[in-house]
Amino acid sequence: MRGKILALAIVVLCLAIFPFVVKNRFYVSLINQMLIYGLLAMSLDVLLGYTGLLSFMHNAYLGAGAYLVGLFLLHVSPSSLWLTLLVGVLGTLILALPVGWVQVRTGGLAFALLTLAFGMMFFTVAWKWYSVTGGDDGLMGVPHPDISFFGMVAGNTGNPVAMYLLTLGVVLLCFLLTWRIVHSPFGAVLEAIRENEARASFVGINVRKYKLLGWLLACGLAGMSGGLFILWRGYIGPTTMSAFAGAGVLMMVLLGGMGSLWGPFVGAGIFILMQDYISTMTEHWELFVGLVVILLVLFLPRGFVGLGDYVMRFRKE
């Protein structure tokens, strides 16, 4: 336990001083992106790794959060950071509630299919509702509010370093919060549902209610990642909400390892690096993603986290 806290502290420290050591804006922005997607992937892991529910288009909730925050900044109040993040998360939760309500009445397979259908529905709405979401063009020119604590301005979200630190702080908070939640009796219930739904219900657990709560937690976190996303990028378009992007998030969780909260961050990092690298080499990115997903499922289902276990076993012998 001590070791883990120490490891986390070291990682956070390294991440915190990173933008001051590596002055290149591109890399700061890249790690920022990894943190945001890491949060999204972690939220999917809460859903998939801990509760056992597969979602094909979890990125729809990143999109929802991003559009909500963007619209709020554009039309309501361009300068309130914390309020808009709150609105983003709450708004995403409000959207996720009815969807979740319908989805948890079904089993694993139908659940996954429904996430695909609802995700496509969100995508279609984002794409076609031109007057509100800007359609294909997306939301542009989103203002960058200042980051202020109790009236003191610490930086502006348009500044890459300030935004990076904000992301780091928020993501860390979410990570700790989620860690606390999954290591509580609530988390144990979720895992029980993942292991054997029928048995969980025999023990007296209201399976539907807990699935819904797990779903809401995952979507709330995703909404937060969406808010961070649009602050970071200043733009959101329907492509981020596409089925392909949804596969990307799934791949991040697979790569990093399901069932551990930090694995998805590693997965997100690897995925984003790969995406950056490969897309400069070929436009047939889709083919590659498909191939990697297949190979991962066949040979490395526990992802990066699994690799660690494999190495540990070696060392013990």
């Binding site: 529905m121 392909f244 047939h284 297949i294």
Partner: protein
């Protein structure tokens, strides 16, 4: 009046295509418990295969026979290499796997045939329109209905009257018993998968001249066919018939009146039906 006839006939055609695809998906799922997310891509492959075959001079009907065979062969390769080892694992992994396969196949389609839409040239006698009940209706669409009806009839005959067909049906109800009878389940799984893929291929060839042939056609068909099998009940062939008719009608009407958000209506339909009837319309679905 004319428009009503158009709408009804169009929705029948759409339902027909949905039906073939959905039945293929249901056959695979009913037997192997594998939800083949790559089914839409196989459908697209059927259409693209017919494009290539016809560009080599083959006539439409020849393509209609050969393309599904090609798709079935691809399905065979898929099944043996990738799907069989996954059958024992949890359903989450099979879903993710076939999801990956979908992207692989879609990427392959883009790689081989490019991003631009393709077109198929129909034989002359199918290009005309015919007056029906006060409207001019394309002959090809009527021909589609005939082809689909013939395929369904053939399938029903196969499933009810041939030994292989009966084995397939038995295996989807009680696989252990079939295995006890000494029948090689491996062959049964392969057979079901190949049959399902062939169905997707046929639907693809038939749908090619109807709707546009482009790299995203697979995605759209996939989601629609999910809606159909979920509403009809997962694994239920009879349910698929009713569901296909319902979804075809709803989608055609929605597209006519609302166009842009048509699919949203379809998804809502699925959500509502799933919420209150998780076993599908006929209550025959597998609730997994």
């Amino acid at each position: 009046m004319n428009i009503a006839v158009d709408i009804v006939l169009n929705s029948l055609v759409l339902s027909g295509v949905f039906l073939i695809v959905a039945i293929g998906l249901n056959i695979i799922y009913g037997l192997s418990r594998v939800m083949n997310l790559a089914h839409g891509s196989l459908y697209a492959l059927g259409a693209y295969a017919s494009v290539t075959l016809m560009s080599f001079g083959a006539n439409f009907f020849v393509a209609l026979v050969i393309a599904p065979v090609a798709v079935a062969l691809i399905g065979l390769v898929m099944e043996r290499t990738v799907i069989a080892p996954m059958r024992k694992r949890s359903i989450v992994y099979t879903l993710i796997l076939t999801y990956g396969l979908m992207f692989l196949l879609d990427g392959l389609i883009r790689y081989i045939w490019g991003n631009e839409p393709r077109f198929v040239k129909l034989p002359l006698f199918l290009q005309d329109t015919v007056p029906i009940l006060g409207t001019q209706y394309p002959v090809y669409r009527l021909a589609t209905l005939v082809i689909i009806a013939a395929t369904m009839a053939g399938l029903m005959l196969f499933l009810e009257k041939t030994r292989t067909g009966i084995t397939l049906r038995a295996a989807s109800t009680i696989p252990e018993m079939v295995s006890c009878l000494g029948i090689n389940m491996k062959l049964v799984h392969i057979g079901a998968f190949v049959l399902g893929c062939a169905m997707a291929g046929i639907a693809g060839v038939v749908a090619g001249p109807l709707y546009s042939i482009d790299p995203v056609m697979g995605h759209e068909m996939l989601i629609s066919s999910f809606v159909v099998i979920v509403i009809g009940g997962l694994g239920s062939l009879r349910g698929a018939v009713f569901a296909a008719l319902l979804v075809g009608l709803v989608q055609t009407l929605a597209e006519f009146f609302i166009t842009d958000l048509a699919m949203v209506i379809v998804y809502m339909l699925m959500a509502v039906i799933l919420a209150f009837m998780p076993r599908g319309l006929l209550g025959e679905g597998r609730f997994e």
